[in-house]
Symmetry: C2
Subunit: 467 residues, 2 copies
Amino acid sequence: MRFLIAAAAAVCLAHGSAAQTTPAPSPIPAEVQRTLETLRARAMASDDAYALTESLTTEVGPRLAGSAAEARARDWAVAQLRARRFENIRIEPFAIPYWRATRQEAAVVAPSQQPLRIVALGGSAATPEGGLEAEVARFASLAALRDAAPSSVAGRIVFVDEGMTATMDGSGYGAAVPRRSACPRLAREKGAAACVIRSVGTDGHRFPHQGTTADFAAGTRVPAAALSNPDADQLARLIARGPVRMRLDIAIEREAAAQSGNVIAEIRGRSAPEEIVLLAAHLDSWEEGTGAIDDAAGVGVIIATADLIRQLPRRPRRTIRLLIAGAEETGVFGGAEYARAHAEELPWHVLALESDFGAGRIWRFRSRFGAGAGGHHAAMAQALNAAEVMVSDTQPAFGGADIAAARAAGVPVIDLGQDGLDYFDYHHTADDTLDKVDPANLRQNVAAWAIAVYLAAEMDWDFRAAE
Amino acid sequence: MRFLIAAAAAVCLAHGSAAQTTPAPSPIPAEVQRTLETLRARAMASDDAYALTESLTTEVGPRLAGSAAEARARDWAVAQLRARRFENIRIEPFAIPYWRATRQEAAVVAPSQQPLRIVALGGSAATPEGGLEAEVARFASLAALRDAAPSSVAGRIVFVDEGMTATMDGSGYGAAVPRRSACPRLAREKGAAACVIRSVGTDGHRFPHQGTTADFAAGTRVPAAALSNPDADQLARLIARGPVRMRLDIAIEREAAAQSGNVIAEIRGRSAPEEIVLLAAHLDSWEEGTGAIDDAAGVGVIIATADLIRQLPRRPRRTIRLLIAGAEETGVFGGAEYARAHAEELPWHVLALESDFGAGRIWRFRSRFGAGAGGHHAAMAQALNAAEVMVSDTQPAFGGADIAAARAAGVPVIDLGQDGLDYFDYHHTADDTLDKVDPANLRQNVAAWAIAVYLAAEMDWDFRAAE
């Protein structure tokens, strides 16, 4: 309950004379508080976010960046936004490198013949026609591969067999991702034939976890793939018994410039329309699943949140803008394009937030505000208690991939942090499907989002400046 | 605790004069009880069954009935049994129809393009070269398909969308299996192009569940496949929106007569070697996983149990025989062959039991004994309490698939019933891998098995006859 103490302290500083035992007067006017309660109650009574998630994952399904399916998803988003009478609905197109695996097969060929379940990592090179075959060199970590003599690697298939820790806040991902992004380059530098990694994932199912590499745009120079955790276990057990030979067969299609795009829509502000609160999520998904938790649920949350606010009798002071980004998975192309295309507007972005961590309950609030804006943090945290977001943390917020470029340009961000303990069980796998989304959690997500977004759009708080 | 009452009642009948408040004298001599305790303690201190499970699933991997991998599994079993100095180790070969899917792909093609995850059901016909495409006709149950007018089915892909209930004792399976076994024939009778079913499985992962059809040997006359549960959900949601067309592409290889075989080994009895206690499990598995819970764990349990008894200073009165059966999955060919080849010996089989329901803890004891053998049931149930098998049930035992023919010929059977609440999450899927096996559970399994098997082999109990 650290935030209650922080909130009290902040209020005491602002109202120096108040005794610590007196409840601090809220900086939020009663009328705004009534509206927040209306929004919360309506969010908790609505399955709109779930219906949107269901619609996108069912009607469009998988939507790889730059594919025809991603284009259909843009059309879907425009239709949804039009039906809800948002303003300034538009697609902002841009070109991206397109990459897709058309075959991704692997097998142990000696000492016994056994299939392995893999996916090619984003940007992977193809194997030679008919596949390649080599002995496997196992490394317990990326660091061990880094330290390895090239002679122990050359000509082999490198296998980086490092695990991942499940955490509520997803911090295990950051620790695990380097083996995915860096392995192909390291393997190549030491003369390896290919690189396979234990999936960046926390489940024990036969689903390899997709994801991009550091070399997506240029393409990795050796084939790179992820094994499911049980397959990595099997390979490790076989290697413990003696030399293992693996066959890898990866075919790729590429285009230098394929079409992607961001979908934008707004609720224009009533008195400060040039000031923008930006709500982001991304439309594309990896191909194996239907991208329900990554990130149809986020798309559902931001549209449902904005639509709740749109239905109020009076629109808020500031503009609420939706950024439904394209091509996040393969390299955050949509987020970069948004920051580029809207660079002149970024100083008018008073706050940005993204929903891209699944469909769990929101348990934690973080912000990245200017030094003097702690009072806004405290007031927002307290308001979020109504949606049962009970933890406030003074670590700076991350924001989200698609608003990272905006954040880097100085736009204040908040995190409405979801419980992601099982997020990396499904993330980037075939198993990322609608049944992993709990409608009750999405209701709570929208309740918390509506509170934070309405406050940011209605109050004249400056999250950047000192008070 | 029904069995304690039953046990007390049985003992009271046998010893008519004993007062109900006096503890009934055990029919098990103290020396035998000491041996049971030794066996139990050694079982609980040993990971032998797990090591066997690990070895078979790692070194052989998947082992489809009639394949080269199944032959390697027989060699593995013979090597294990020789290393443990069992007696009369032999392979009893037989021929089976061989069937394997070499391609099994499906997709929704309208109103949107979306891949679906399927497996071809055992015995499925191939689609025409290049696949077939048709509108899907959904039926909420097999009964609904049975009642359907042929005009609503003809030319379509029938989709039987019936769920399955998870239960500890696996009784949900019996209720669900008819849709797998009967669907292709029913579909064909009504002129359908193909039949797909919601998997006979209880999980929510993208793993379709394999399994055989009633027409395995002759082959189904229409292609037949199972969808994973999330894919069945997706298909049902799409159908709720309007007509759906599906493409199905199944390629099959077949041989009329491939090689399979049962592996047999014994511990010969010291004074009644012609009397046999039969311990069964099966060696083959479906191809997608490594058959860890179905049935490498069972193979591990029966070998480890027999080996514990073999290591006693004095062998038991009767012969303990292992039946490590081939070709169970595709049609219980090994069990039928055993009953045929050993028909003359079946009257000397005093008891048979099989481990083929995964790797969960044993919680329940059942028997199928002659009318007068209730005392043996009660005594065995009470002895099993030491291994924490606390539930005894007077419903007749099932025995197991590979000993069903023996049971039909009058051989008494018992069930050491495992907790199978999650068994059908993994059963017949790619996800049936070693990580689903808990070594602690296998220790308890062997403890219970050793108690039941030693009692059956050492005591002169007649499970068939009245006392």
